[in-house]
């Protein structure tokens, strides 16, 4: 589903991604961990070209993302993205947030879009909050609306950048539950997160990144239970102590 090869990214003199290769199979859930500043967000953002890689190639669902002729706005519909800070549109209701792109990019009528949007909100358990504005929702509810906003476009892949890091602990579970259900429905997912419990139960593969490169990867049992690299061991020791 995703074939990213030799991705490099420079921010001026800063070399943030140093030749990352990432292949994600259909229906696979890849879980990415790594210290702050190791380039996890930059990698995700390259995968929908919110960030332009300095070099490398990215093919998603058969489409060459970096080809100048590719209509990036069409491809992005197929690649859902969920952000740490939710980024809901504050001037719109939950339903408005979910239906905007369905109407403007998907070309659906308002009635069709509302039906699609309500179904997406239903999937995240918030159909009864359709008329609420983001400020009237808890952080966990806002993040679920953000997931519904991506899901409503029927993406082939979903990218999650620390979706629960900004949430109070008691609200994390609801978001993880929605992500687990998405995974069970067969969604291909790349998840940057520190939620090790979720990784153990839902991830097919765990990738450890440091200094802009993939240091180690394998099943959750292998990477969490018996990490080979010293840096992986040190990092996992750290987050386990805090968990």
């Amino acid at each position: 589903m995703i074939q990213a090869r030799a991705i490099h990214k420079h921010f001026g003199a800063l070399h943030v991604l140093r030749g990352v290769d990432l292949a994600v199979a259909e229906r696979e859930l890849v879980f990415v961990i790594g210290p702050s500043g190791s380039g996890k967000s930059t990698l995700l953002r390259c995968l929908n070209r919110l960030e332009e890689p300095s070099s490398g190639s990215i093919v998603i669902d058969g489409i060459d993302l970096l080809d100048k002729r590719t209509d990036i706005n069409r491809v992005r519909q197929r690649i859902g993205m969920v952000f740490q800070s939710f980024n809901l549109y504050p001037h719109m209701t939950a339903l408005g947030n979910v239906t905007l792109a369905v109407r403007k990019v998907g070309g659906k009528s308002r009635a069709e879009a509302d039906a699609i949007g309500l179904a997406a909100l239903e999937r995240v358990g918030l159909a009864d909050r359709a008329d609420h504005h983001p400020a009237q929702l808890s952080g966990g509810q806002q993040q679920r609306v953000a997931i519904a906003r991506a899901v409503a476009l029927e993406p082939r892949v979903m990218l999650f950048d620390e979706p629960t890091s900004a949430l109070d602990p008691e609200l994390v579970g609801g978001v993880l539950k929605v992500m687990r259900e998405l995974r069970e429905s067969g969604m291909t997912m790349v998840v940057v997160s520190h939620e090790m419990g979720f990784a153990r139960s839902a991830a097919d593969r765990v990738i450890f990144m440091a200094d802009g490169a993939i240091v180690e990867q394998g099943t959750p049992e292998a990477v969490f239970g018996a990490p080979v690299e010293a840096r992986t061991r040190a990092f996992i020791g750290q987050i386990q102590r805090h968990a």
Binding site: R76, N87, K104, A135, A146, A150
Partner: protein, 222 residues
Amino acid sequence: MSFLDTFFNAAVMARYAPDILRGLLVTIRLAALVVVTGLGTGLALALLRSLGIRPLNWAIVFVVDAFRALPPLIIIVLIYFGLPGAGWAPSPFVSTWVSLALVLMAFAEEIFWAGLTAIPAGQWEAARSTGLGFGQTLAHVVLPQALRLTIPPLTNRTIAITKGTALGSVVALSEILGAASSAVSNSYNPSPLTLGTAAYLVLFIPVVAFGRWVETRFAWKR
């Protein structure tokens, strides 16, 4: 002469009321034109600036800073007395309109621009990640939020600049103040000024109230 005879002389007022009324109509037309064209061009400049084309942005900033720095009266005088030398002789009405519209454009551009840049990058990214284009994101996500932020400073600035219509009297425009001044010199009595003051209140109190209404109407729960 008593205070009442001086400032509220009924005979003088009745005689010059039609002049002041005509002046009021001129002021209304002028103010409406200034508001529409000033805010329209200001918003257009701010949107152009958001495209991020360097040389264009330098030009916009230069023009905007110039018209924010110059006193409106100077601009009116320059246009009315200076432009005929360059081959175009605008009427008092057009001179005043163009001058005030340029000043409002400059201040409005800065206010709109500040509003646009106050919207967090995450809003752009979320919208773009769903496949919305630059223009769609601007129109449906960024601009509606930016406009709400700009309404309070924009109403204040718009009211302040629109009151500058009185400056038209300097180039012999018969707006409220111009009509009242000539009535005073013809009648040797300041009562027409009282009428003029009343005309300004009648015109601008609703405008100020409208500004207040717009501010509450567009405040939304964050």
